[in-house]
């Protein structure tokens, strides 16, 4: 397990967390290279099916991060994201998906250091949890695969 380098995907909004991660760079604060960012206009845009897609493709952990409550560039997108997360977390727990591997956080455009902390803490946590091999054993994944192949 020593050599395990977790693959982590970060889904972030353009206005707060993406800008915050830019600030982390501008401040030259170092963090683990395991996390790769995918930019969304808003956390409200993030469909939770895409988290499933990430797990299915071998992600070991996921970060979802956007503007702090009340700071959303689009005023309410992050509230929808939060609401959806609460519902989906229950659903995912029910289906056996390890929601401990998903970190939901708020990082503003001014919180460069916080972003580095979020990344480092998540990497450390996922490293401890080990690779997410279980996902593809879960029945739901087969269903997803079917759905996706139909979709394409």
């Amino acid at each position: 397990m020593q050599d395990f380098e977790p693959k982590i995907v970060a889904f972030v909004c353009n206005w707060c967390t993406y800008a915050g991660a830019d600030l982390t760079g501008t401040s030259r604060t170092k963090y683990a290279a395991n996390v790769k960012i995918i930019r969304f206009p808003c956390t409200g845009r993030i469909d939770f099916m895409i988290l499933m897609k990430a797990f299915e493709n071998g992600a070991d952990g996921i970060i979802v991060s956007g503007c702090h409550p009340n700071d959303c560039h689009y005023s309410t997108g992050n509230f929808h994201a939060r609401r959806r997360w609460i519902v989906f977390r229950n659903l995912m727990n029910f289906t056996g998906i390890d929601t401990e591997r998903i970190l939901f956080s708020w990082v503003s455009a001014a919180e460069g250091f916080k972003w580095a902390d979020v990344v480092n803490n998540t990497v450390a946590k996922i490293r401890e949890m080990g690779p997410y091999e279980n996902y593809n054993k879960i029945a739901v994944s087969t269903l997803l695969k079917e759905e996706v192949s139909n979709h394409e």
Binding site: K30, Y31, A32, A116, N120
Partner: protein
């Protein structure tokens, strides 16, 4: 990766106090509201806000002055400072800690002898009987301080009023209390 976080820093005084008490010294911005409201500050050698400043300097000399000060023994834990502090700094908790450190370092102010003697007599009384035996405690205190004649005038009146109990109340669990005293003393804290 995050090298800067791992670097070993020598512990500052404020860091040490933060670890021991949770109080963050550097929050204090010297507004002086504590000193203004403290009932004892006029008698203290260092009023509370000055104590905070001295700790902030991280200077061992200032720390030493505080351990030897009267201030820490004059503080009656009335909590007025905490109540009005804009930064909600728990000065009373800090004072408790400094008192304990002062005793441990054997630096207590000679003028505080009476106050410390009172506390010790008080605790001794609990240790022996489980409760405070007022008369016994006062006698013990007088033995410690030599203040034999203090308050002798009111004692007879108190007797008459039924306020002084000549016989100590000793609780059944006296041994349990003694055990408690033993255990906390073994836990590296102040030797009482």
């Amino acid at each position: 990766m995050s090298a800067s976080h791992d670097q070993h820093h020598p512990m500052t005084l404020s860091g040490e106090l933060r670890m021991d008490t949770g109080v963050i010294i550097n929050k204090c911005y010297q507004c002086g509201k504590c000193s203004a409201g403290c009932p004892l500050s006029s008698e203290m050698d260092y009023p509370p806000s000055l104590v905070m400043r001295m700790l902030q300097t991280d200077d061992p000399k200032n720390y030493d002055k505080l351990l030897k000060s009267m201030t820490i023994w004059l503080c009656v834990s009335c909590e007025m400072c905490l109540t009005r502090c804009p930064m909600e700094i728990d000065i009373p908790r800090l004072m408790d800690n400094l008192r304990q450190k002062s005793v441990r370092a054997k630096k207590t102010n000679p003028q505080a002898k009476k106050i410390i003697a009172f506390h010790k007599s008080f605790l001794d009384s609990i240790n022996y009987t489980g409760r405070l035996y007022e008369m016994g405690m006062v006698v013990d205190y007088k033995m410690r301080t030599g203040a034999m004649t203090q308050d002798v005038m009111i004692a007879p009146k108190m007797f008459v009023k039924g306020k002084l109990n000549p016989i100590p109340e000793i609780i059944k669990g006296r041994k349990k209390i003694a055990e408690i005293f033993n255990r906390v003393q073994n836990n590296k804290e102040v030797k009482l």
